[in-house]
Symmetry: C2
Subunit: 282 residues, 2 copies
């Protein structure tokens, strides 16, 4: 399941609460395009801003509309009891895997992060993807910790925000059952070429055909064509950019993000509107 | 109210839930010592790990046991609706002020942070202290943003984790009604000497007499004496250190922190036990 193209759609809000119909409408073309999995309630799905109850409901909704495509749901939270309830709800909903970042307010120590993954993976009946995202968690995995967590039972993948210099060395220290995934859409083409197994993709959540063309093409040209979009992703955060795109396309109500988060506004939003046309995003 | 020594006690847990009796027992000596305010549910009070309901209950408990000492409660959260409910609950409990950091998962932009403070302060009936804490929020205030937020109605103080090089320049850009507070206990003595108005203190939440001696002495010697303790604070985080101290003193049940957070363990915990004696903490 943790292979190929995994699409991470937005979780659209309307007047501050989950907009189920808009969410279903977002899922439909992604499912029809035939992505390899759906990454629901990832960072792009605003999981950290939603309650345990909302997240359970959204997981059920996603599974109900995913046809045969495996659904992966993030269970990250600050408190263990919330994480375990999210895991229970997700598994009861019928997800195929879960995703978890070491969400921190007090930045976790390495021991604390390891204990967290050990405790959570012990209680799972579906595989887990380790989500390494320093920008949102403030937590940085050392190589040692990452390999130790990856060796825990039920770990099936690692979502990395970087391409290691020596990928073969990383591979050699991972079990064959653990796949390597890339986050940060602008890195995806080169990461897949270097031997990554899966692209955890923001782009694919709204423009699945464009993302599939990159994921299946096996060369960088299609990705390089999108450099003006990647530049916006890097500068403003892919969540703000892709939400602005969905708002402008009329796929979600504006504002679709939880206050105080704001989709792209002003001049860069206008620049994005022009990119739709010039880049032929689909 | 935002002056002198503000004590930030722990919020002790017992088997993962709020331990009201231990909390009251922690407050008593702090109140009796005559600190200038109580900072409830600060970072040291694990606010980010507690539900809105728990935080309302803890605010009411603190006000009920604070005698005449003003109570300040943190209302920080990721979602605006949670923040506003926390503010309502705190005000209904009878707090004298609130404290708010720009809590982030997606790191806020400057516009987002300003909009957040503008929206929240507009709805307050008590003054707010701006809480600048990059280590926990991942958010860094620019000087411009900090001054803009400080000029909003109902802002009464800034809690800074650094001593600006030119304090008089900072003062000149702040209203007379906004006080400057220091966080990071090891910096407090020099910050107070440099002209800060208030010390937002972790130490004072457990060792109020020792903190008062530093706050009232007007020289650095008492603080310098505690350098071995400050070294532990800086290295392991003051929350993990002060919790280990409270656990070892039998004031709270171990583990008192929300999993996966852990108080100081192993060798540094033993070193801390020796410091109690050698530093005569009280």
């Amino acid at each position: 399941m943790f292979r190929g193209l995994s699409a991470f759609p937005l979780t659209p809000l309307k007047e501050g609460t989950f907009d189920e119909q808009a969410f279903i409408n977002l899922l439909r073309p992604v499912v029809d395009a035939g992505v390899d999995s759906l990454g629901i309630l990832g960072s792009t799905g605003s999981y950290a801003y939603l309650t345990v109850e909302e997240r359970g409901r959204i997981a059920r909704c996603a599974v109900a509309h995913a046809d045969d495509i495996p659904v992966i749901v993030s269970i990250g939270a600050l408190r263990l009891d919330d994480i375990l309830r999210l895991a229970d709800d997700a598994q009861a909903a019928g997800v195929s895997g879960v995703l978890m970042a070491p969400v921190s307010y007090q930045r976790l120590t390495e021991d604390e992060a390891f204990n967290l993954y050990e405790t959570v993976t012990r209680q799972l009946s579906v595989p887990l993807c380790i989500y390494d995202n320093t920008a949102t968690t403030g937590f940085t995995f050392s190589d040692e910790l990452l390999f130790a967590v990856a060796a825990l039972p039920n770990v099936g993948s690692i979502k990395l925000g970087r391409v290691p210099e020596d990928l073969s060395q990383v591979r050699a220290r991972l079990s064959d059952t653990v796949t390597l995934g890339i986050a940060g859409d602008w890195r995806a083409a080169s990461a897949l070429q270097a031997g990554f197994d899966v692209w955890y993709s923001v782009l694919a959540g709204l423009f699945p055909q464009t993302a599939l063309a990159i994921a299946r093409s096996g060369n960088n040209a299609e990705s390089e064509r999108l450099e003006p979009l990647w530049e916006l992703f890097r500068h403003y955060g892919s969540l703000r950019v892709i939400t602005a795109a969905a708002e402008m396309m009329g796929k979600v109500a504006a504002p679709a993000l939880p206050f105080p988060l704001q989709s792209l506004q002003g001049e860069p939003r206008e620049a994005l509107a022009k990119l739709f046309v010039s880049l032929e995003l689909a």
